[in-house]
C-alpha cells in the first residue's frame, strides 16, 4: 500500500524459468547408468551353441572356455537339446573373441583322462574342467558347433602331414596310437572311424612336419601292435614293438624292399594299412598275368594266397580255386593264379621279349605242379618248373586267363626216386662207428659201477666200526659219571638255599652291617645336632674347654 501511496516506479520481477545446476546430477547418473548397462550387455561377446553328448563336468556359469589356456568365454547355460539326445552348452564369448567362432572351430572338454597312450588334463582335477576351443582355418562365422567327445590328438593348427589309412580290421590301433618309422615315433593316430559303406576302418593319422618327407607314394603302413613270433631256419625269433605300442597299438611305415619310393604325398592321401610287415612287403607284388591251371588231382591243402614259386623264387600267388572257370564237362580242378612274368623273364635265360616270356617258357617245358611247402602242415604251393622230357605244349587261353599245362606231382617214378634217395642216405649213415662207440661206452660204465661197489663196501666197514665204539664199556660208563657230577652240582646249589651254610654266613654279615649302619646313624645325628662335635667331641667327654676369666 505504501508503494501505491508514494507512486514510486516499481520494478516488476519476472521469474525466469532457469534450469538449476542440480540437474547435472540426474544427467550424469543417466549417462553412467546407461553406460554401465550398455557396456554389460552390448559389450558382451556373441553366444556360441556347442552340442555335446553329455554335460559331464560342465557347469553353467562356472566352466570357462579357453583357447591355448587363455580365457575367451564362459558357459552361461547348459540345456538338454530338443530331441533329448544331447546337451547344448551356451557359450558366452568374451568381447573381441567373436572371430574365434568360425567354421572349423572345434570344442572339447578338458578333464582328467587316462588311457593306454597317455594321461592328460591332470590340472583340471583341482581347478575344474574347462572347454578348449581350437579356432578353425576359415573366416566364415558360425555359431553352432558340435563338440568333440574326445580331445583331438593334435591340434589342427600344428603343421604336419595328415593321411588316411584304410584297414580291414581295427586291431588294437586306436586314437592316440603312435606311428613309427624305424622304431622312432613320428606321428599319431588322430581318429578311428568305421566306414560303414565300405565296411572298412579308417584311421586319420598325423605325421609331424619334420618327418612328413618320409612318407611317399611307395610307402606301406602296417600294424605293429602285437608280439611277432617267427620260426625260421635259425630258430625262433620273437620281436616286440615298444611297450607303448604293445599297450595302445601302433603302426609302422616304410618303403618295402624292392619297392620304389615314388613322389611325395599331399595331405589327405589314402594308404592301405596292412596287418603285418609280411603282407606289407608282399603288397609291392604287381601281377601282370592271370593264369588258369587245371590239376588232375586233389587240391586239398592248397588255399587262396598260397605262393607260386619258380625254383623257390616267389612269382605270385593263388587267387581262386573254383569250378566256375572250368569248361563244361571237365572234372579237373581249375586254380587261378597270378604271377609277375617279369621275374620269370629275368630268371630264364635267352628271353629277349619280356612280354612273350611266359609263352616261350611253356614252349620250353615250363609246367605247374603242386608241391608240399611244409611237412608239418601239409600246405601246398604251386611250383613252376621246367620238366625235362615233357610233352610239347603251347600257352593257350580260356577267356581272360592263360593256361599253363600242369604236371601231376605224385607220379610213381618221383616217389621211387625219393624213396631211393632216402635209402641211400640211410646207407651212408656211419652205423658201425656208432655201434663201436656204444660198446666202449658200455665198458666204461661197467668199470664205474665196480668202483662204486668198492666205495659202498668201505662205507659199510666204517659203519660197523662206529657200532663197535658205541658198544664198548667206557662209552657205557660215561653216563654214570655224568650222573655223579650232576649230584655234586645239586648239593652245592643246596648249600645256597635257606638251610644252607652259605645262608647263615650271609645272615651274620647282614647283622653286622646293620649294626654298623646304626652306629653311623648315631654319628650323623650327633653331627647334625652339634657339627663341632666332629672336632671337639661330645660334651662332657675328652678335654675340658678352658674358659675365659671373668
Amino acid at each position: 500500500m505504501t508503494e501505491e501511496e508514494t507512486h514510486e516506479p516499481r520494478a516488476t520481477i519476472h521469474h525466469r524459468r532457469r534450469w538449476s545446476s542440480v540437474w547435472v546430477v540426474p544427467l550424469l547418473a543417466l549417462i553412467v547408468a546407461g553406460g554401465l548397462v550398455w557396456k554389460h550387455y552390448a559389450g558382451r561377446g556373441p553366444i556360441a551353441y556347442v552340442r555335446f553328448e553329455t554335460a559331464e563336468s560342465i557347469k553353467a556359469g562356472v566352466t570357462e572356455v579357453r583357447c591355448r589356456s587363455v580365457r575367451v568365454g564362459i558357459i552361461e547355460k547348459v540345456d538338454l537339446s530338443d530331441d533329448l539326445l544331447s546337451v547344448v552348452a551356451e557359450v558366452r564369448m568374451d568381447p573381441n573373441s567373436e572371430h574365434l567362432l568360425r567354421q572349423g572351430t572345434r570344442f572339447w572338454v578338458v578333464k582328467p583322462r587316462v588311457s593306454g597312450a597317455s594321461i592328460s588334463g591332470l590340472s583340471t582335477i583341482v581347478e575344474g574342467a574347462y572347454l578348449e576351443l581350437e579356432p578353425g582355418d576359415t573366416n566364415l562365422p558360425v555359431h553352432h558347433f558340435d563338440g568333440l567327445e574326445e580331445p583331438p590328438v593334435t591340434s589342427s593348427s600344428v603343421p604336419g602331414l595328415r593321411l588316411t589309412l584304410i584297414s580291414e580290421d581295427a586291431g588294437s590301433l586306436s586314437s592316440g596310437s603312435p606311428i613309427y618309422y624305424r622304431g622312432f615315433e613320428v606321428g599319431r593316430v588322430e581318429r578311428r572311424t568305421l566306414d560303414i559303406t565300405n565296411r572298412r576302418i579308417r584311421f586319420d593319422i598325423f605325421i609331424k612336419e619334420e618327418y612328413s618327407s618320409l612318407v611317399s607314394q611307395g610307402t606301406c603302413f602296417w600294424n605293429t601292435s602285437g608280439i611277432d613270433v617267427t620260426a625260421g631256419a635259425d630258430g625262433f625269433k620273437v620281436s616286440t614293438p615298444s611297450f607303448q605300442a604293445m599297450l595302445s597299438g601302433g603302426a609302422v611305415f616304410s618303403v618295402p624292399k624292392g619297392g620304389n619310393v615314388g613322389p611325395p604325398v599331399q595331405d589327405g592321401a589314402v594308404f592301405e594299412l596292412y596287418p603285418d610287415e609280411e603282407s606289407a612287403q608282399k603288397s609291392i607284388f604287381r601281377p601282370d598275368h592271370r593264369i588258369l591251371l587245371f590239376f588232375d588231382q586233389t587240391v586239398r591243402n592248397l588255399s587262396p594266397g598260397a605262393p607260386v614259386e619258380f625254383r623257390g623264387i616267389p612269382l605270385g600267388r593263388v587267387v581262386e580255386i573254383s569250378f566256375k572257370h572250368s569248361p563244361p564237362g571237365d572234372s579237373r580242378v581249375p586254380v587261378v593264379i597270378e604271377i609277375d612274368s617279369d621275374t620269370l623273364g629275368k630268371a630264364v635265360e635267352d628271353i629277349n621279349d619280356p612280354s612273350k616270356a611266359l609263352a616261350e617258357c611253356v614252349r620250353r617245358g615250363l609246367r605247374a605242379k603242386l608241391s608240399s611247402a611244409s611237412l608239418l602242415t601239409g600246405a601246398l604251393f604251386v611250383d613252376l618248373d621246367f620238366v625235362p622230357g615233357a610233352m610239347p605244349a603251347e600257352l593257350t587261353k580260356i577267356g581272360e586267363y592263360e593256361v599253363i599245362p600242369t604236371e601231376s606231382s605224385a607220379s610213381i617214378a618221383q616217389l621211387q626216386d625219393q624213396v631211393k634217395a632216402i635209402l641211400a642216405k640211410i646207407e651212408a649213415l656211419p652205423l658201425d662207428d656208432t655201434l663201436n662207440k656204444f660198446g666202449t661206452a658200455a665198458d666204461e660204465i661197467s668199470i664205474t659201477v665196480k668202483d662204486l661197489r668198492g666205495t659202498l663196501d668201505e662205507a659199510e666197514g666204517a659203519l660197523a666200526e662206529a657200532k663197535k665204539l658205541l658198544a664198548r664199556d667206557e662209552t657205557q660208563n660215561l653216563t654214570a659219571e655224568l650222573q655223579a657230577t650232576l649230584k655234586q652240582v645239586r648239593s652245592s646249589v643246596d648249600s645256597l638255599g635257606p638251610e644252607g651254610a652259605m645262608q647263615g654266613d650271609l645272615a651274620r654279615t647282614l647283622d653286622e652291617l646293620r649294626a654298623a649302619l646304626r652306629s653311623f646313624k648315631v654319628l650323623s645325628d650327633s653331627i647334625e645336632e652339634k657339627p663341632n662335635s666332629l672336632l671337639f667331641g661330645r660334651e662332657g667327654s675328652g678335654d675340658p674347654t678352658p674358659r675365659a676369666k671373668r
Binding site: 546430477v25 540426474p26 547418473a29 543417466l30 547408468a33 546407461g34 554401465l36 550387455y41 581347478e127 575344474g128
Partner: protein, 208 residues
Amino acid sequence: MEIRSAAAEGLASCHLCGKVSPVDLGHCPRCQSPLHLRKPHSLERTWCFLISSIALYFPANLLPIMSVSGIGGASHDTIMSGVLNFWKKGDFLVAIIIFSASILIPVLKMIALCWLCFAAAGKTHTSPKNLTRLYHITELVGRWSMVDVFVVAILVALVQVGALSSVLPGPAILSFAAVVILTMFAAMSFDPRLLWDQHVGRDLSDTP
C-alpha cells in the same frame, strides 16, 4: 479451523541455527546465514536426485554385484540371482532379508519420494499428516539399505584365500551404493513443510 503457517506471516526459520526471524531481513540476525521461507529449489532437487537414483537402480540390479571365484571356477551373482539362490537352497529368511533390504526398500523409497513430490506439487489429495509420516519413515529407513554394500565390502576384505577362494566386488555395487546415497539426498532435500503449504495456502485463500 484456520491453519496459519509461519511462512504466511513472513517468518522464516534459519536453516543453520533454527532462529525464527522475518524473511525480509534476508540474513539470520544470529548466524548471518541466508534466510529462506522454504528450502530453495527443494522439489527440483528432490526430483533430480530421485531420477538419478532411479537411473542407477537399473545397473545395480542388472549387473553382477559380487563375483566369487574359487575351486571349480568363478560365479557372478546379481542381487536377484543371489536371492533366488538362497531361496532355492531353502534359506528363506536370508532370502527375504536380502530381498527386502536390497530390492523392496529402495523401490518403496523411490515410490514414496515420487508420491511426496507429487503431493507437494499439489497433484494428490492425501492427508498431509500421513504424507509427513511417510516422509519420516522414508528418511529413517534410507540408511539401512547400505547393508548390502557393507556385506560385500566385508566379504571382499575377509575372503581372500588366494587361489582357493576370493570374492571380488562387481560393477553393480557402486551403482547400488549410489542409489542408496542419492535416495538419501533426495529425502534430505525434500522440504516436508511443502506438504502442509498446500493446505495452508487453501485455507489462506479461503480467509479474507
